[in-house]
């Protein structure tokens, strides 16, 4: 089945994508098992929107992104990409020639602005390289385009002759973005583009990403672990856990009325930069499951406070529980989960809470009040 959005077909449709990495042992490098880095993942991204992929370290976000760009070959599944309304490619099956053409339409922005730029080349060559590779032979034309790109990302074109080491982290990230935009891509995959940056510079880059999206009509697949940043940038959000998607919906619903217990726990863990909003956390027990030996049934069941017998035996299906709201949980329809607006105050006695205690199922946890009461007055 193909999804059809308000603007026709989605730009990208990922269907039942799998990527298993073999685990080899011994002298013969015998295959003894597999890391299920991406395990049956389906989602779509509409033209011009930002879909974010979130989840704990090792859950398969980067691997999913790499499959989409065919930086690794998927084990199974389809990746339908429509650079225009009436052309469709299955990136998972594309030939090398096709891929070369497709890579103009799909570009990547990396996490580490320090290691993703070749230190031996000046900006002109770093940003201009994709142009040269794609046949822009004239040095003059290239230089003009590089000037234009540098201006677009808020850098002075005069810097063109300088080398990456002369720039700060934020400037290097701008250079990486200019390079990614050189060939006018439609889809930009950004894997943790701001997590290596200082707080004050992070805001500049987030603004730039939003601004470029508007100006150029870009579609973003955004991978990040900072949920406040994700909330700020996304139209829709997909939550991953041990290689699988557990929930996907629009930003407001995901943050305010999540339907998957893992999403609820994740949201509750985010420390809010406001001491008056100190709140009870759902502190998840234990560790993330091992993708080489995941638990039975629902992968989240050993840590889930709502788990029942069926969760230990049966894999929950990925289904649309409300229009545009996809969840994989046996109890998605019955549970009343807390979003960020339902946070429980940490200590009701402190009396400075604005959050009504709406969800009685939230356990007290072991947190104690950090703010010593002041009785000296």
């Amino acid at each position: 089945m193909t999804v059809e959005g308000p603007n026709g077909h989605p730009l990208l449709e990922v269907k039942r994508l799998k990527k298993y990495f073999p685990i080899r042992k011994g002298f013969m490098r015998r295959e003894v098992g597999a890391v299920r880095a991406v395990d049956d993942v389906s989602f779509h991204i509409n033209r011009g929107e930002t879909l974010s992929l979130v989840g704990e370290s090792g859950c398969g976000k980067t691997t999913t992104a790499r499959c989409i760009l065919r930086a690794v070959d998927p084990t199974d599944g389809q990746i339908l990409f429509r650079p225009t309304e009436d052309t469709v490619f299955d990136v998972a099956q594309s030939t090398r020639r096709e891929l070369r053409r497709l890579r103009r339409d799909m570009q990547m922005i990396f996490q580490d602005p320090f290691s993703s730029l070749n230190p031996r080349f000046p900006l002109l060559e770093i940003v201009g390289e994709p142009l040269l590779v794609n046949g822009m032979r004239s040095g003059r034309e290239r230089q003009e385009r590089v000037e234009e790109l540098l201006r677009l990302v808020g850098m002075r074109p005069e810097y063109m002759r300088r080398f990456p080491h002369a720039f700060s982290g934020g400037q290097r990230q701008r250079i990486g973005i200019a390079r990614a935009l050189a060939l006018n891509p439609t889809l930009v995959v950004a894997d943790e583009p701001v997590s290596a940056l200082d707080v004050s510079v992070q805001a500049q880059i987030l603004n730039l990403l939003l601004d470029l999206q508007q100006k150029l009509g870009l579609t973003y697949l955004f991978v990040a672990h900072d949920l406040s940043v994700v909330k700020h940038l996304s139209d829709r959000v997909a939550v991953m856990y041990v290689g699988r998607l557990v929930e996907m919906t629009d930003r407001e619903r995901l943050f305010n009325s999540p339907r998957h217990p893992y999403t609820e726990a994740l949201l509750s863990s985010v420390p809010e930069p406001d001491p008056r909003r100190r709140s009870q956390r759902i502190v998840l027990e234990g560790e993330v499951a091992n993708p080489a030996a995941p638990p039975s049934g629902c992968y989240f069941h050993p840590r889930c406070r709502y788990a029942q017998d069926v969760c230990r035996t049966d894999t929950p299906v990925w289904e649309e529980v409300a229009e545009g709201h996809w969840v994989a949980c046996h109890r998605a329809k019955e549970l009343e989960l807390a979003g960020v607006r339902d946070r429980l105050p940490m200590n009701t006695a402190a009396g400075n809470s604005t959050n009504p205690a709406t969800n009685a199922t939230l356990a007290a946890g072991s947190a104690t009040d950090g703010d010593a009461t002041d009785d000296s007055e």
Binding site: S228, D235, S269, V283, S376
Partner: protein, 350 residues
């Protein structure tokens, strides 16, 4: 903080005008350039600021482990040292870094959780033997008792199968477990002050919540003072009683956590708070930003270190004079700020 001002509690540790510089061949790095703050038992002080502002060097200065070619060039680190059941005030900046007192204090009375988790444990010894060694350094326990205590500590920080874990190596542990083991080792001598340098930065939010919860619980149980170093303002808001905001080696503002987050005065503190997206703020709108980037340590601006990025810059003053950290107003002295919007230049330079 008000209790503090009323003199109800005596601070365990008072840092005053600390300056720690590095002298590499290329020039002088004023890594910490006049930091002052204090912390009491049972309280958590947060030190926040962006990369390179001097948070870690401040911590290393307190423990007297600043590496060559650096050193403390000025200032006091007054600590209430406990010896023979009495408390004696020592200036850690003055005593010998390798003397008996400092050896007793370092890792014993003041313990540290380091920013780089892999460097704190040796890769060639199981974590158990390292914790045992740390225990025996500060107590007369025999090998077997020390091992039992090590297992107890692992249990205390929420590590299951503690006995078995003692035989494991740091690289075999997940990030969260390694961080817990590090906290266990830091707690081995029952420190009075725990310095935690970015204890959760490398961790997922869910694991971060576990570790912060653990620190809070341990503080309630043991009454330690905690100095929490981080660049994450959410973690500070959640954990701290008082906060120090640093920029380029200097404390720009200091106060109760509520004052810093709800009544910030310094332009840098204000901008920093505005520039981070929040779960409650409006999505997909431009964020207020701070222009430019943090200067290179060799290119410190003259005058106020923030002046080349400050929207309230006062020409002729901010670029000529260095603001000092001063009480905001004389009456309620729990908020300190270093900015000419609030006080006149006091230095001699023109």
């Amino acid at each position: 903080m008000a209790t503090l001002a009323a003199g109800k509690r005596r601070p365990l540790l008072r840092v005053h005008n600390l300056k720690t510089y590095f002298f590499p061949d290329e020039g002088t790095v004023r890594a910490v350039d006049g930091a002052s703050f204090e912390v009491c038992a049972g309280q958590t002080l947060g030190i926040v600021g962006e990369s390179g502002c001097g948070k870690s060097v401040t911590a290393r200065s307190i423990l007297r482990i600043v590496e060559h070619p650096g050193g403390i060039v000025e200032g006091e680190i007054r600590y209430l040292h406990r010896t023979d059941g009495r408390e004696v005030e020592l200036d850690l900046a003055q005593i010998s870094a390798d003397g008996p007192e400092m050896r007793q204090i370092r890792g014993g009375e003041i313990a540290m959780i380091f920013q780089e988790p892999m460097t704190s444990f040796s890769p060639v010894h199981p974590i158990g033997s390292q914790i045992v060694e740390a225990i025996r350094l500060h107590s007369p326990l025999g090998k077997r008792e020390a091992r039992e205590r090590a297992a107890d500590l692992l249990r205390q920080v929420g590590i299951s199968r503690a006995e078995a874990r003692l035989n494991e190596y740091a690289y075999q542990l997940s990030g969260g477990l390694r961080q817990r083991a590090m906290i266990a080792m830091a707690l081995s001598a029952e420190p009075r002050v725990l310095i935690a340098d970015e204890p959760t930065t490398a961790l997922d939010v869910t694991t971060q919540a576990q570790i912060l919860d653990l620190l809070r619980q341990l503080q309630t149980d043991l009454g330690m003072a905690i100095i929490l170093i981080t660049h994450n303002l959410g973690v500070v808001a959640e954990m701290c009683d008082t906060v120090v905001v640093m920029y380029l080696g200097r404390v720009v503002e200091e106060g109760s956590v509520d004052a810093i987050f709800h009544n910030p005065k310094h332009p840098y503190t204000r901008l920093l708070l505005q520039s981070i997206p929040s779960l409650y703020s409006e999505a997909r709108v431009p964020l207020p930003t701070i222009s430019g980037a943090i200067p290179h340590p060799y290119n410190r601006p003259e005058g106020c270190p923030f002046h080349d990025r400050c929207p309230q810059f006062i020409p002729g003053t901010c670029d000529r004079h260095v603001p000092e950290l001063q009480a905001l107003d004389e009456e309620k002295s729990d908020q300190l700020v270093s900015c000419f919007l609030y006080h006149e230049p006091t230095d001699e330079r023109a």
